[in-house]
Amino acid sequence: MADESKTGRKKIQATDTMNRLMADYFYGLNEAAKSGRQKVAWCTSVGPAELLRAMGFAVHFPENHAALLGATRMSTDLIPAANAIGYSPDICSYLTADVGAHLTGITPLAKAYPGIEAVPRPDVLVYNTNQCRDVQDWFAWYARELNVPCIGISSPKNIGAVTDAHIDDVARQMEALIPTLEEIAGARLDMDRLRETVSLSRECTELWKRVLETATVTPAPLTFFDGTIHMGPAVVLRGTREAIDYYTVLLAELEERIAEGAGAVDGEQYRVYWDGMPVWGRLRQHSELFAGLGANVVASTYCSSWIFPAFDGNDPIRSMAKAYLELFIVRSDSYKEQYIQEMLRKFRIDGIIYHDAKTCPCNSNSRYGLPQRLETKTGIPNLVISGDLNDLRCVSDEQTKTNVEAFIELIEEGK
């Protein structure tokens, strides 16, 4: 941790607790797949995880695995294997990295967790296209490769207000998944258990929101880069008691930091908003880059995307449908504009960085004039950086560094 203090960044003590929690999760999944005691479902990151969990599935999230491939910088070497079988370098580099890893027989789980040899083999693949079409194509590849059923929800996209018609549509599609899932699980869906799971997800989401909102304080006790790590349980363990317990601990630590006036970045001078995916293989460099300039990336669209205010245990299916439709990524540009504008106000932001990720158009919000419109409205300057989430062949470190440094100079001049 010497490095962290050198660049003025502070370590979050709860990290060890989270690492244990994540280890238990991965070992649990591995055990389920190996022993066959529990069926395994693969689910997209904003797919109907509560339904799967309530039906007794152990749930694996390929996007989480792909992010691990990115963060361990294994992805760039694996992507070409998927390119070579016809999956273009221009499509989702989560997909290509994960498929490349499968083709090569490699997983970062094996290195991190002794005893785990492979990703848990699925009994069913369940997607929701609310985020993009790539997840469906990704799961379809595994369905053919592993001869496993692949079912899912085709979600509307680019919507302004979420209407009853949208919710009816998605709720019906969710209900239609149940018979297949029951057959694979070998048990009926217990509605009480679903209610309880959705309620737990709601609790988790509320805590995660409070965690992120600690950064409204100056100096902020956490950074976007911390957020990308600590959101792990909100993604893979939502709907469980463990996730809630973890965020209770994390929140207490961050509140303590606030009481002490301890910021995550020493001498925080500039507060930045990040829109778009993180560059997983550069989390540390980027974190150091901003901290070295006295800047803290205090809020992001990405981490905030796992806040689902609509979850309601009293109406589990419809509230899930609503929650998974209200997501930022599903919405129209005019909604996105308003959303970011509100975030800028709430977190008192000095500048916005849009990461234009080459292989993820759905999370690259700088392509239809949004930065210009928002800058005209708010006067808050913006910077678009070209890069990618997992394919480091699309990342120029020197350009990123110069751009970010010049952006902070610009903010400084304007203060």
Binding site: P381, E398, E409
Partner: protein, 264 residues
């Protein structure tokens, strides 16, 4: 120190530029060289040439600021650096103290920087990952045409029927150039088409404000590009006296004003 001098070193990926200024911001000496593979050595040689031009030695140097790709490689003279965007803005605003949009075409990248009348940056853009529209693109095309770079400007001027190149990509453009050679197009028309393509790529990067200034090595060596750009934009384009030195002069101005490095 009486009559101290201030140094700006702009160590670009392609060329190293050094400017020497005095307390009044007047340019006293300058030098440009290929950056090569040893940034530190090149910068030192450039510095000495520029100082010689100023009739001075390193002992009269009070402060220095570096910028550009190799900005951290000159610890022999300074550890203070600024981004090339900041220095470019400073250098151009020094020449034209008004609200301007600066278009800089460098060896490896392009920049568009907008400044208000006080010289504060309101926005900037750097080109994306590829060489399209940069000096590197011109070099590649010159070698395809087997032409020395210095001849391109005069050739383009002679064109009376410009060839249009449609592609973004340097490799695709090279193929288009070959295609035009095969069809017997005149070299001068192809070169003008290449210039046109450079300007198009740059103008796509951002919108422009009223007063436009161009800088960088490409325009310094190819003034016809500036004339073509002015025609395309539909209004005159301003050019500092030493377009290639804008960043180095900006760095030298920062050095002059940076009291944190020590007073005389």
């Amino acid at each position: 120190m009486t009559n101290p001098l201030f140094i700006g070193l702009d160590i670009g990926a392609s060329r190293t530029k050094v400017a020497v200024i005095d307390m009044n911001g007047s340019l006293m000496g300058h030098a440009v060289n290929k950056s090569g593979t040893d940034f530190s050595l090149t910068a030192a040689a450039c510095l000495d040439r520029a100082l010689e031009m100023a009739g001075a030695t390193r002992s009269r140097v009070l402060r220095a600021v570096s910028t550009g790709y190799g900005r951290t490689n000159v610890s022999f003279i300074t550890n203070t650096s600024k981004t090339e965007i900041g220095c470019l803005a400073r250098g151009c605003h020094h020449a034209f103290p008004e609200a301007i949009t600066v278009i800089d075409i460098g060896g490896q990248d392009n920049k568009i920087v907008k400044l208000d009348s006080a010289g504060r940056r309101s926005s900037f853009k750097m080109n994306r990952k590829c060489a399209a529209g940069t000096g590197a693109f011109l070099e590649e095309m010159a070698s395809r045409l087997d032409l020395p770079l210095e001849r391109m400007n005069d050739l383009a001027r002679q064109s009376d029927d410009m060839v249009k190149l449609g592609s973004y990509c340097t490799v695709f453009s090279a193929t288009e150039v070959l295609e035009n050679i095969r069809h017997g197009k005149k070299v001068s028309d192809i070169v003008k088409g290449i210039f046109y393509s450079v300007i198009k790529r740059v103008l796509e990067m951002d919108s422009l404000t009223e007063r436009v200034v161009m800088s960088g090595g490409v325009v310094a060596h190819n003034p016809y590009i500036v004339e073509m750009a002015a025609e395309m934009i539909g209004r005159p384009v301003l050019l500092p006296e030493f377009p290639q030195l804008a960043g180095a002069i900006g760095a030298a101005l920062y050095a002059r004003d940076d009291k944190s490095q020590g007073e005389s």
